[in-house]
């Protein structure tokens, strides 16, 4: 619970920082564009508009990613594929048990098991004698 509160507080602080940064940068780019429009410097108009557009895309995109990552469990397409992972985990872990139960192992391993059983048997017989 405390951890969640901390993350939430961090997110709020981050959000404020990003929004403030966006506001300030767009103000700066707006003044570049305004200056360009007044003096007919078309490169400044183009440069200012490209920068303000890309700044908004990048930072708002980052905020949206963090928003999505805050809760990775759900049914959205980018959420953690819980059912697929559980099914895969079940299949993999039970695969080990099933192969042992059904003696579904390679021939080499089966032969090795037989050799070891023979060796242990002869060792027990020696001990008994």
């Amino acid at each position: 619970m405390n951890c969640y509160c901390l993350i939430s507080a961090l997110m709020q602080a981050w959000l404020l920082q990003v929004k403030l940064h966006l506001l300030l940068s767009v103000t700066a780019f707006g003044s570049i564009m305004g200056n360009g429009l007044q003096k007919h410097i078309w490169f400044d108009v183009f440069f200012g508009s490209v920068l303000s557009f890309s700044t908004n895309i990048v930072f708002e995109g980052l905020l949206e990613i963090h928003n999505q990552l805050m809760d990775p469990f759900g049914t959205d397409s980018q959420d953690f594929p819980r059912e697929m992972y559980l099914a895969n985990l079940w299949r993999t872990t039970h695969g080990f048990i099933l192969q042992g139960e059904n003696d579904n192992v390679p021939q080499v391993l089966r032969e090795m098991h037989e050799v070891v059983a023979d060796l242990e048997k002869s060792a027990t017989l020696k001990k008994d004698k």
């Binding site: 990048v58 980052l62 990613i65 895969n88 299949r91 390679p106 090795m112 098991h113 050799v115």
Partner: protein, 161 residues
């Protein structure tokens, strides 16, 4: 990062093979001593099978990362026998953990047959488990929620800003 992990796993395979050869060296045995000859051939068999399976696990890791379902060439190149490949082809999903489980089973059998001491067995098993962990880490990074190329793209965009 994925390639680093795969190479780290390659390093584990080399150290595993080195340890196997150190713990089960080639010895000159008296041909008349049947028990010694049998134990020597068993030791060679365990050594070659374990190293082959470790390489097979490595090859299957690359196959899984590529998303390839074509395994016949692994039999042709000597990584697996046809019966092993038939067993691996039965299941779906990740195949390399199964090979590591065979490897663990083989090492445990070698320990029971007194070919390895408890300490040697533990050391070799640690290498096998480390290889399995590295293989899983490769997929952890590959299947991350934010793909690497996206991270790089965002880094470039933010730096440009």
């Amino acid at each position: 990062m994925n390639l680093c992990l795969a190479r780290q796993q390659q390093g584990k395979a080399v150290s595993f093979s080195m340890l196997m050869c150190t713990f089960m060296p080639v010895r000159k045995v008296n041909p008349s001593d049947e028990a010694a000859v049998e134990l020597d051939s068993l030791s060679k068999h365990v050594k070659s099978t374990c190293v082959r399976w470790l390489n097979l696990g490595h090859a299957l890791l690359y196959k899984a990362a590529e998303g390839s379902e074509y395994f016949q060439h692994l039999v042709d190149e000597g990584f697996a026998t046809p019966d092993e490949m038939a067993l691996l082809s039965q299941g779906s999903g990740m195949r390399f953990p199964l090979v590591y489980s065979w490897l663990g089973d083989m090492l445990a059998s070698a320990q029971r047959a007194k070919l390895l001491t408890d300490g040697q067995y533990r050391l070799l098993l640690d290498d096998v488990m480390a290889s399995r962990m590295n293989a899983s880490d490769v997929f952890m990074y590959l299947q991350a929620q934010i793909p690497y190329y996206y991270c790089h793209f965002m880094t470039i965009m933010v730096r440009l800003q």
